[in-house]
């Protein structure tokens, strides 16, 4: 299963200081792994929540540096995109996958898939035995929907104020972190539901 889905900043932005990384949306699926591990039993709920937020921040920072290094290496210039060019932005996006060792920061080893679209990163943290082909496709699909429904190519802050839309998107396309084998018909059916929700 997918352990978490994040949207965060990835490149130097005027609004933030250099190297700082802001998490705009994070959704961790399933119970907190600290609850079920022996070593972390003594933590109280407050500490567990803090630990989870820290783990998410660590992942965001790792992806931040991975995207930076990848863009540096490929030498491509970032082209400004405006709303309406979502498909192009997605085609142009950098993508990659990294390995997170056990304990750093999750209890078990994880694979992190990321998509860097302009100055935002979309990240999936999966268990390593997952079907990464399917995960990659799902991530692209999720990113496309987020870009479109939340007008993320513009300067707006809808991602912060309309996070419930992402929740609903995830509940259909990645329910409880489960990757789904959806052919175009099944996907269409789910996307219709999502679009109906977004229209309200």
């Amino acid at each position: 299963m997918v352990r978490c889905f994040l949207i965060h900043t990835v490149c130097p932005i005027s609004a933030l200081s250099a190297g700082e990384c802001r998490v705009l949306y994070s959704r961790v699926f399933g119970p907190d792994e600290a609850v079920l591990s022996e070593e972390l039993q003594e933590l109280n709920p407050e500490e567990r929540r803090l630990l989870q937020k820290e783990k998410v921040a660590v992942v965001a920072r790792q992806v931040h540096s991975a995207v930076t290094l990848s863009r540096e290496a490929s030498g491509r210039q970032l082209v400004e995109m405006v709303p309406g060019e979502e498909v192009l932005a997605l085609q142009d996006a950098d993508s990659g996958v990294a390995r997170l060792r056990a304990g750093d920061p999750f209890n078990e080893e994880m694979s992190v898939l990321w998509l860097g679209v302009q100055s935002l990163g979309f990240t999936l943290v999966c268990e390593p035995h997952e079907n990464l082909l399917l995960a990659e496709g799902t991530l692209r699909n999720l990113t496309r929907h987020c870009l479109e429904h939340l007008h993320m190519l513009g300067p707006g802050s809808e991602v912060l104020l309309k996070s419930s839309r992402i929740d609903v998107l995830l509940s259909r396309l990645l329910p409880h972190g489960q990757l789904l084998f959806l052919n175009h018909r099944f996907a269409q059916s789910l996307e219709k539901e999502v679009a109906a929700y977004m229209a309200k």
Partner: protein, 817 residues
Amino acid sequence: MYSHGSESLMKQAREIQEPELQKFYSRLVKLLQGKELGHETVDSLQRLHLILSATKYTRTLPSELRTRLLSLLSSPVEQLQVLSSAVLREMSPLSGEELNYIQENVGHLNSHTAALLLSKAGTRADLSSVCVQLLRGLDNRPSEAPAHSLMHTLPVLNTILTHSPECLTEDHITLLSKRLVDWLCYASTVQGGGASSGRFFTGPRSRQPVPIAELDGSSVSGNFFTVLCVGQGFTEDQWMNVYSFSMLHHWLLTYHSVSIGNSTVETANRSQLSLSHSFSNDDRSEVDGSLVSMVSATSSSSRLLPPKERLREKAFQYCQRIIEQSDRKAQKKTDTDLQKACLVEAVCILDCVCVEDASLVFRTFPSIKGLFGRLSPDLSFARVLLPIAQFYLNHGEMAAVDCESVWKLVFGQFPAELFNDPFLAHELLRFLRLNLEKFQLGVPQYTHFFPNLLKFLAWDSPAVVDDFVDLLPSLVTPVTAVELLHTLLDLPCLSATLILQLRSTCLPISEQGGRGLLSLDAFRNPSFRGLFLFMLRGEAGSGDTIDRLSTLHDLLAEAADWPRVVHCAQTVPVLLHIYFSTVVMVADEKLLAHLILVMLERSSILLKIPTYVKEIHRVFSCHLLRMCKLWPSLVVDQSHELVEFAGISGNVYSKEELYTHVVWVLGEYLSVSCDSRCSVRLITSCFETLEAVLFEITSSGTPDGTVCPAPRVITTLMSALAKLASRSHDLIPRVSLFLSKLRTVTRSGSVAWCSDEEDLVAIVTRGEELWSLLKAPGVAQSVLTPSHHITTPQWHRDTNVAMPLQLRALTSLTHPQ
């Protein structure tokens, strides 16, 4: 995309003051008390979520607000379900009363409430109760439950069994196994309700059941429904088919990987049953009567197979069908991608069931072989071929199948042609990592492909260096060690070569201008072809390195600031440390001697990237020291090359670190006590070489005029000379003469070869210490060339020391403290 506006919004949410927050809470409570919950309520709930999630510490909500939010979980409006679930997820755990409230009032557990319960589960018992609630819903569905109410059941269960598989009891597992079989193989094959037949006039007459279709449009004749079937609308059990297949692999891994621990009789029955099934493909038929007598009465047909075994059999059939369906030409690109993903999944599941039941291997191998034959020529299916390779690795031996072609493809072709695919790199390296032991036992020749494997590292070091930290030790063998060292040192060159290779295929021959012109021309130049081809070789064994290596470095000089090359250069020192740490464990003295020669030779033949050369020298120095400490006789063995290196005074300036260490090991280990082959002549010739260099660098005119030798070099040279002299006393007068001259010269003021006052004082002090030490040759010898039993004391063996130690130990044990 992330503007100042967004940043200030986040700041506001984080820094909202308590009084304002309380006002907000009460306003929200008022809104929630109203009958109609409109846009303003939704907006406020959204803002509440932002405020709560923006901080790292948990805020407390007034209890009335919490209660209101709980009641929203069962709201008919999904937006309110979503928002209340999201808000409550950010809060402290749910109390017992709140949990009871949810159980009683939320009735049929909707997806968002389930998410909340999962996220707030505090113990395994909490997860078990969610599980029980869900399965109860599965068994007895209330008639008024909405159409898609079952759909989140399997994802939630998958989550539970990820974190805590023990939450499902044997009964649960049996129940689910049966349901999974139903959904996987007996879902309806007609299109679901709400399917429009596309015609303008739809009356009851035209509402005939329309069958579903394959991805290429052909009909699904007689076969069962799978994820690769399409229709205008879908029934509930077809949806469950999708959800079941999506979690099937994980289910089998969790509950089927452990052997069920049955008696041999049952196992025999099971394998005979599988054997009998190979005679009849249609699973609904009875087994051939003649075989029934061999099989116990309780397992005479597949229907009466225990649920787990039946699920395994059905999983097998489903995957075979997927493999067949993937050969069809899909009409849409997304479906083509899905076919690839399904193939990967199907092969993984087949691998899983074959591991569990070895008799299935013979039924499975034909289709796997067929897949391999069909897909191996097409590199776009590389990621599908990796699970196939895993299957071959796990079961190839059992089926007595030759796997050579598989390894040639995976290690020979993939890295050479697909090194720039980050996903393939990740998966291939992971495949290697997970099966390292199997490879070392069964396919030991994989180590010969290290030049190919290193291409992944050369292309994208930051992404895969972590994998190589784990893989590199296994690649270091006595056979590959020398060539591997050369290859690691030239990894930045490989990086540049790969870039040129890609550019060369992308850019037209006649392009003028642009970056990389010189090196690209060189790459395309036939007279330099051999150099680049050597870099791009896939297998080891064709030679440790090439003669014209420095030519290659000159040709690639402009690549020294390409980001990819720089990233690569940064990882090489780390890998060299791992290399050397491993090689001292597997190499014999002869090989280590060879490696020392390589180090000395390569110290001047490296790609000129700023700080790269220095870092490599530092690694060399560190490990030269370690190797000589482990095998002191190495120094005498390689004395000729080491002394030659030490005799080049230019090395003092260009390779200061390495030079210092070479001189040090010469001084320390060039003695009879380390190796009996050490003669007086050897000591004398080494002495004379070092003496000459020391004279040269401390004479008034330095070659450069501006650069001074590092003080450490001078003191090391002095100490080395003193040590050598202490072993051959004829040399003592020469050293003493030099040291006294040194004192005289420095007394008269500053010197050209040392600019810093303090350094000069340190050098002179050391000189004086050595000079006074050498006045008593016997003392000098025992200090500067201590015998073995002093440098490696084993006090318990010493007859004088052992007794008192033993007595002291016994006393402290027997006396109560």
